[in-house]
């Protein structure tokens, strides 16, 4: 709103409001909202996609989504550092679908380069990437995540024939996410399963300050996961270039307690 009303760039400012539920009414609304966005894009580009265009785009994006899911499924067999793994995961945000598939399938297989006690990482974004180096240096390795820029973007495929239904289905079926109002119980259940399946010793929630969707969940995650014997560390760090020594010390101490 600030961009559109006050900054007023030369480019049109387009918006998409994702509904906060998974009800039939949310789905109907999202389909209409996607139609609206598509209409605006068609106006701006002067081009209306054909059925073949849609199919080609879906084939490419579904392949990229599968490659992302495969990355996560294969991570214990990839001979890469945690940092390299997440650089590749994050490239899904800016590479074309085809280029991402190339990048994801091009990672070397073998024993993971990072060893040590397993951690699950949660939060919105895990930056700076130096974070992963410091976790490895401290004797830990990331075995799974619940990051908004990571595993929460593994959208399941949809076999709906209508393109807008297909996009809506994928978005609404994505993993639990507090930014979309997912019930806390769903997130706790998902994390509990993830910790069990990966053998993780602890959960690190890595948040930026003032991020309310995450901050409201933290005490409940700590309590519910504590009931199942999973220790949790909550670290807040600015999206700056360098990790603060305060954050580093806490991460090192946490990994030490898990060893």
């Amino acid at each position: 709103s600030v961009v559109a009303d006050f900054l007023r760039p030369d480019q049109p400012v387009l918006t998409l409001y994702l509904p906060r539920g998974g009800r039939a009414s949310d789905r109907s609304y999202l389909v209409e909202e996607l139609h609206r966005l598509s209409g605006r894009l068609a106006e701006i580009s002067g081009s209306e996609p054909t059925a073949a265009d849609w199919e080609e785009a879906f084939l490419a994006e579904d392949a990229a989504d599968r490659a992302l899911a495969a990355l996560y499924a294969d991570r214990s067999h990839l001979a890469v550092t945690d940092r390299r793994f997440y650089e590749t995961v994050r490239s899904r945000e800016y590479l074309t679908a085809e280029d991402f598939v190339t990048a994801a399938t091009g990672l070397p297989h073998g024993d993971p380069l990072a060893t040590g006690v397993g951690l699950v990482l949660s939060g919105i974004v895990a930056e700076p990437l130096e974070l992963f180096d410091r976790i490895n240096d401290a004797g830990g390795r990331v075995v799974g995540d619940d990051l908004a820029c990571g595993a929460r973007r593994i959208y399941p495929p949809s076999d709906a024939s209508d393109p807008f239904d297909r996009i809506a289905d994928r978005l609404l079926a994505s993993p639990p996410d507090p930014t979309r109002g997912s019930p806390i119980a769903d997130r706790v259940a998902m994390l509990t399963d993830l910790m069990a399946s990966t053998g993780a010793a602890g959960l690190m929630v890595f948040d930026v300050p003032f991020c309310e969707p995450e901050l409201f969940d933290v005490p409940l995650l700590r309590r519910h996961l504590g009931e199942t014997g999973h220790p949790m560390l909550h670290v807040e760090a600015e999206l700056a270039g360098v990790l603060s020594h305060q954050a580093l010390t806490r991460i090192e101490a946490f990994v030490e307690t898990l060893q």
Partner: protein
Amino acid sequence: MNLDYLLRYRLAGTAGLRLQRWRAEWKHSRMRPDPDRPLNPPLRSTIRMREMMSRHYLEGRHVAGVRPVAWVTSGAPTEILKSMGYFLVYPENHAALCGARRHAEGLSVAAESAGYSRDICSYARTDLGSVLTGETPVGNLPPPDLLLCCTNICQTVLYWYRVLADHFGCPLVLVDTPFLYQDVAAPHQVAFVRRQLEEIVPIAEAVAGREFSEQEFREVVGRAKRASDLWLRILERARHRPSPLTAFDGFINLGPIVDLRGDQRTIDFYEGMLAELDERIDRGIGAVRDERHRVLWDNLPIWYRIGPFSRWLAERGVNIVASTYTHAWGELAEMMDPDDPFEAMARVYLHPILNRSTGHKLSAMRRMVDEFSIDGVILHSDRSCKPYSLGQIDQRDRLVNDVGVPALLLEADHNDPRSFAEEQAMVRMEAFVEMMGS
């Protein structure tokens, strides 16, 4: 009928409150304008408002098991629940009351001790602190049988109410209102909200054990419309010079239109308040004895400083005559339509100022500067309320450069006094007042 409810609330409680009101009204009748005081005697109506709200919270202490209880957000479409006999608790109003009575800091600390970040909304921290400790200045709050959360005031309420749902183990009903970047809601947005309103009904029926009546719903909507219209007319009386009320009167007397919207007593109360204001206008009585400057307030009030601010400003001849916050509960009255309640309420609950663009808020402020003969604007940059505060820098710049009024960006927090630097704030306020005078 529950005996505790009958004896302690219906009989003894309401009688006691009525006695308190008579005593306060008698004291008020003996007040005379004092040339040494910057403010004229307060509105007599506020005494009745205090009785109404005290009675509401008193009922809350005894209502569990007598009426179904719902905790609701301040922008929620409560008319459906009200028509089904629900007792409504507004955690935001309760938090504001805690803020005004200086209890909020302690409750926030309790929430923070339980792991809730100091960076989350101070209303939420106050409420969660109260829920976790059981402490409240109103005695006790009845636990909810149902939670109703509407995102038209912010997304924070969704995260907050998810925590309440986890704590209380009761159903959480969500009314998700898409943000309006454009002037008017699109058909698919209205349809989405309307459908969600209709979806409230079966859940509310199951919890209450009572059937929804469209007729009763229409009647409640009709009363809500009348009360909202009265509230808007009350606020618009501040266009007069001198204004018979201040925005602080608005903040304090907001309770009924928020918490008791849809009740006949709310209509009766605001009719009385409007008559009192008209009497003041006829007699040339302003709220501030020597009104020299008229100010618009943007954002929530600073609850723990209402009294001191009001006096400080009045001493300098400044009357805050209007606020975007209080207007929010009146400006949509014309949209309410009891003849087509679901469709109309879907539009109403999509269009509150906080669910609309930053450009719309600027337009609203520009209009209010003109309509209320404003000499300056205070934009409260509220640490806890990001949606209300985002865009204020740009709005402020345009008010100064395009409209030509002094505009102060005042950093504080609506409920947490730890985020208010008194010295700094008052120095800036002093400079702002001087600017209006020059």
